[in-house]
């Protein structure tokens, strides 16, 4: 393996990013470029596939192979690429509108199938590119140009939906926390199969400060619940809060009010998926304490590995295809 010593610059293109000044997409782009410099994969093997939205402009700013496709269809396009080219490192970049509104079906089926894809969902809880309509993750009652007296839609919780759709790797991170973002990119890349990361991303023009509880200087320490496998779920400036189970429901309590063994120990590897689901219900959107990190990492054979295994098995059993024999397989007759 030739030693790859890339720098972040190797992953920058000549296309100057066109996002608004101050947009969260810039920091995510730099985190991804920094991570890929040390990812240890040859640059030409990396492919970014996106749909449509401000977030979906991402591929133009990564000096890899890329396709800026059509609204909502990136997971399906990436599935065809990954299933036919197991040697590639396929990443999907999408938005809350692109993945959860028009692209909802392709997202849940890609998660179910566990194709070898890393899906990065930039959740800014708004349609940025089309100038500010509410999205499936916007809080109910949100006033926007398409909902002047408040939106009627009850929002998805992207983590709960992913867990309900049999996803094998589910995580969340913040655009403004590059080191944790890079850690999550690493975990996702290490997971063979579909890895889904919800990235809270601030759109400072149409939905500014949506994640202020998690990024504001004073409040963030009170609201970031970093999950670490095998460690008790405690958080707060002095770890004064703890997560406990009340029946099947996860709840936040004052740590002082419960005994240590009551505190829930994070288990990202439980195939029952129920604890991960319970943790996903801790927050109703980013308006309060929200878990960050890996909710679930329960690998199973990836779709493309199984597909290529099947091809090999049939080839082994029946020998590689003989066209001359195939076209005679229905029985023939000859006229002299």
């Amino acid at each position: 393996m030739t030693t790859l010593n890339y720098t972040r610059a190797d992953f920058q293109t000549d296309q100057e990013p066109r996002w608004c000044p101050g947009c969260g997409d810039y920091t995510i782009l730099s985190s991804v470029q920094r991570y890929m410099a040390d990812m240890g994969v040859a640059k030409e093997k990396v492919v970014f596939v996106s749909g449509i939205g401000c977030s979906s402009r991402f591929p133009y700013y990564m000096n890899t192979y890329g396709m800026h496709s059509i609204h909502g269809r990136a997971p399906a396009i990436a599935t065809g690429l990954a299933a036919s080219r197991p040697d590639l490192d396929v990443w999907v970049v999408t938005g809350d509108g692109d993945a959860l509104s028009i692209g909802g079906n392709h997202l849940i089926h890609a998660l179910r199938r566990n194709v070898n894809l890393k899906i990065l969902l930039f959740n800014n809880q708004i349609y940025g590119l089309t100038k500010g309509q509410y999205s499936p993750t916007s809080e109910q009652g949100k006033r926007t140009k398409s909902s002047p007296v408040g939106s009627l839609d009850f929002p998805f919780n992207p983590i709960s939906l992913a867990i309900g759709a049999e996803a094998t790797f589910v995580a969340r991170c913040l655009d403004s926390d590059p080191s944790h973002t890079i850690e999550m990119l690493e975990r996702a890349h290490a997971h063979r199969g579909t890895a889904f990361i919800e990235i809270y991303q601030n759109c400072n023009v149409f939905n500014d400060k949506a994640f202020i509880k998690l990024t504001g200087k004073e409040e963030r320490a009170h609201n970031r619940i970093y999950m670490r496998h095998g460690e008790p779920l405690v958080f707060g400036p002095d770890n004064e809060y703890a997560v406990v189970l009340d029946g099947a429901e996860a709840k936040i309590v004052d740590r002082s009010t419960v005994s240590p063994e009551m505190v829930l120990v994070h288990d990202e590897a439980s195939y029952s998926r129920t604890q991960a689901f319970a943790l996903s219900r801790l927050n109703r959107g980013p308006s309060g304490p929200a878990p960050l990190g890996v909710f679930l990492d329960t690998p199973r054979e990836s779709y493309d590995d199984a597909l290529n295994r099947q091809l090999a098995e049939v080839q082994e059993k029946r020998g590689s295809g003989d066209l001359a024999q195939l076209v005679r397989s229905l029985g023939t007759w000859t006229i002299e």
Partner: protein, 622 residues
């Protein structure tokens, strides 16, 4: 490139609207009753001619033994001339012994309706089958319709008051009901006969009528296909033949194309009548490196196909009308990113859900103009089941050479009809290899994804994984040569013209239209797609029986047209265009060449009968 017309010389097809059905089973299975009921119900088949030769029933041999098998053959033809001793097109085998006794006579690729409930260990032994013919491949090459007749009959007659042995006596009516669906026969004549025949036993009448309807419903519900006409292989040119359906020929043609292009196949699809069998056939051939992907819907089917094309596969997606309607945006992306892809549309009766098991040619204008914006793409059509093999290869050739999606039109007639196919010499098939870009193509060592080939105007195919050629493509207008996103108006004008010129240029790379015009006719009959067999048969018949002088041509390429089409059309006083739609090719010929043609149009969702075309020609010659 073989064009349909050259092929036709190999297979001197003589099309007879004729179907031969043989009912075989135990004497107790009521095969005589079933055969005669079905024949009577067929009185409505055009100028029906029903002959009823019945084979000598064996004296009462033990049930389930070959000796005990009795059979009844009914022959319905729409045409006066009958060749003697024809092989049955359809065998109804009520048990293993019936199958054993009569399988040999069935025409290659004929249809076998088999009562799976009777295929027990004991019955297989009594019929001297070593292994179960339903599973050991004996029936490879036949269209098999497996029907659990006992189970279905029991459930159908459950509340008809009939019990015990009486229940299964109406099993033969279930078979008649299924055949009534398959051959478009009314149930009423049989119901009336049953009511008269068993008027003293009302519950037996009830059971028989329920079994009849149960069989019909099984056909309706399982969308089992209607076969109404059969290509009668009269005089075939020397060669080795197999009998093949259009869907199978398309699948094999794609496999052949992949081998000739040295590319793996990726088939992204979603089940839909009548295209599903292409998915089923390709799914069998993993050892050819064929990857089939049953997507969640047609948009994911075309999406995954675009992904596989980006990755360097021979990428194909197949569907029917309603599916093509969901793929317009995806095909538009494939056209804008200029990736090679084949989109198969097996047309069916439309619009909307329409008539899924019926043939129609009503998607032509949709194939030509079915996308927003200026988006011309090549369109090619298969003329008959055997032609589908060559058309699949030609579609792949164009897609790969010109880096473009290609729409391949077929329909129910081609997909589910079957005819003798002269097995080609695989090595002689065209070489479809298109080199991947592997090195920078710009003076400064960079890679320009939209630097077009001077001759074909195709852009280079640089697949991910190729060091140094990293680039981005997408749906926004791209800047010529660099492929970067461009809002510049002049660039959009130039790229629109380049995309159109690339497709139009294909006209220089396809054969001129051949016209079968032995002695300078005044009337030209021109068709496209599945009207090829009935047009050819009608004209052969008119020339042979009445010495009528009429010219014939058939279009394989609908966009771009062969370069000489305008000239050909202009050189005839009258032009007749038979189409299973309301005149879509005629509309395009008017727009392209300002030529007036006469139409023979029906959307009655049945293939043209030879007589219909023959009479129209005679009318126009009068």
């Amino acid at each position: 490139m073989s064009d349909t017309d050259t092929l036709s010389d190999e297979v001197e097809t003589e099309l007879l609207d004729k179907v031969i059905i043989r009912f075989a089973g135990d004497s107790g299975d009521g095969m005589q009753v079933a055969g005669s009921r079905f024949t009577e119900a067929s009185a409505l088949f055009g100028n029906d001619l029903a002959t009823l030769p019945s084979f000598p029933a064996e004296i009462r041999a033990p049930q389930g033994t070959i000796a005990g098998v009795s059979s009844y053959q009914v022959q319905i033809a729409d045409f006066d001339i009958l060749t003697a001793g024809d092989d049955p097109d359809v065998l109804v085998a009520m048990n293993p012994a019936a199958l054993k006794a009569h399988l040999g006579d069935v025409r290659r690729n004929g249809t076998i309706i088999v009562n799976t409930d009777a295929f027990t260990e004991r019955n297989l032994e009594k019929a001297e089958w070593e292994s179960n013919p339903l599973e050991d491949g004996t029936l490879e090459g036949y269209r098999v319709i497996e029907v659990p007749m006992e189970t279905l009959t029991k459930e159908a007659v459950v509340d008809s008051g009939v019990t015990g042995r009486e229940v299964l006596r109406s099993k033969n009516m279930l078979a008649v009901g299924l055949l009534a669906w398959l051959f478009n026969r009314p149930l009423e004549p049989t119901i009336e006969w049953v009511q008269k025949r068993f008027r003293s036993k009302p519950d037996v009448v009830d059971a028989n009528v329920k079994a009849l309807r149960g069989g019909y419903n099984f056909g309706v519900t399982t969308e089992a296909f209607r076969t109404t006409f059969q290509v009668q292989p009269a005089q075939l040119r020397p060669g080795t033949y197999t009998n093949i359906s259009g869907n199978t020929a398309l699948a094999w043609g794609l496999i052949a194309a992949a081998q000739r292009a040295e590319l793996p196949i990726f088939y992204g699809s979603y089940p839909i009548t009548p295209a599903t069998d292409i998915l089923h056939e390709l799914a069998k051939h993993k050892n050819f490196g064929v990857r089939t992907f049953q997507a969640e819907d047609e948009i994911a089917a075309v999406g995954s196909t675009i992904g596989a094309a980006f990755g360097g596969s021979l990428a194909i997606t197949g569907t029917s009308g309603p599916g093509l309607a969901l793929k317009s945006e995806g095909i538009s992306l494939a056209m804008m990113t200029e990736l090679p892809m084949i989109v198969i549309d097996v047309q069916r009766g439309g619009p909307s859900t329409g008539l899924p098991t019926k043939p129609e040619q009503s998607d032509l204008l949709f194939a030509l103009f079915g996308r927003h914006g200026e988006s011309p793409i090549p369109v090619i059509a298969a003329a008959s089941p055997s032609d589908a093999f060559d058309v699949a290869i030609e579609a792949a050739r164009i897609a790969l050479k010109y880096m473009t999606p290609v729409i391949l039109l077929s329909d129910n007639n081609v997909a589910n009809g079957s005819e003798p196919w002269a097995i080609p010499d695989i090595e002689a098939l065209p070489d479809l290899r298109v080199p991947f870009a592997t090195a920078p193509n710009a003076p400064d060592g960079s890679f320009l994804p939209y630097l077009r080939d001077a001759a074909t105007l195709a852009r280079p195919w640089a697949i991910p994984g190729t060091p140094g050629l990293e680039h981005r493509i997408g749906g926004l207008e791209s800047e010529a040569v660099t492929g970067n996103v461009s809002y510049d108006t002049a660039n959009h004008q130039a790229m629109t013209e380049a995309r159109a010129a690339k497709v139009a240029g294909i006209a220089n790379d396809i054969p001129l239209l051949e016209v079968d015009d032995p002695d300078g006719a005044e009337l030209l009959v021109i068709g496209w797609g599945s009207t090829f067999p009935p047009i050819k048969a009608a004209i052969n018949n008119l020339r042979r029986t009445q010495g009528v002088n009429v010219a014939r041509a058939h279009l394989r390429y609908l966009n771009p047209f062969p370069k000489n089409l305008g000239e050909v059309l202009g050189s005839y006083k009258k032009v007749l265009v038979p189409e299973l739609n309301t005149g879509q090719l005629r509309y395009v010929l008017r727009a392209e060449y300002l030529v007036v043609t006469e139409g023979l149009n029906k959307v009655a969702a049945e293939p043209f009968k030879i007589g219909e075309i023959r009479d129209k020609i005679l009318e126009m010659m009068a």
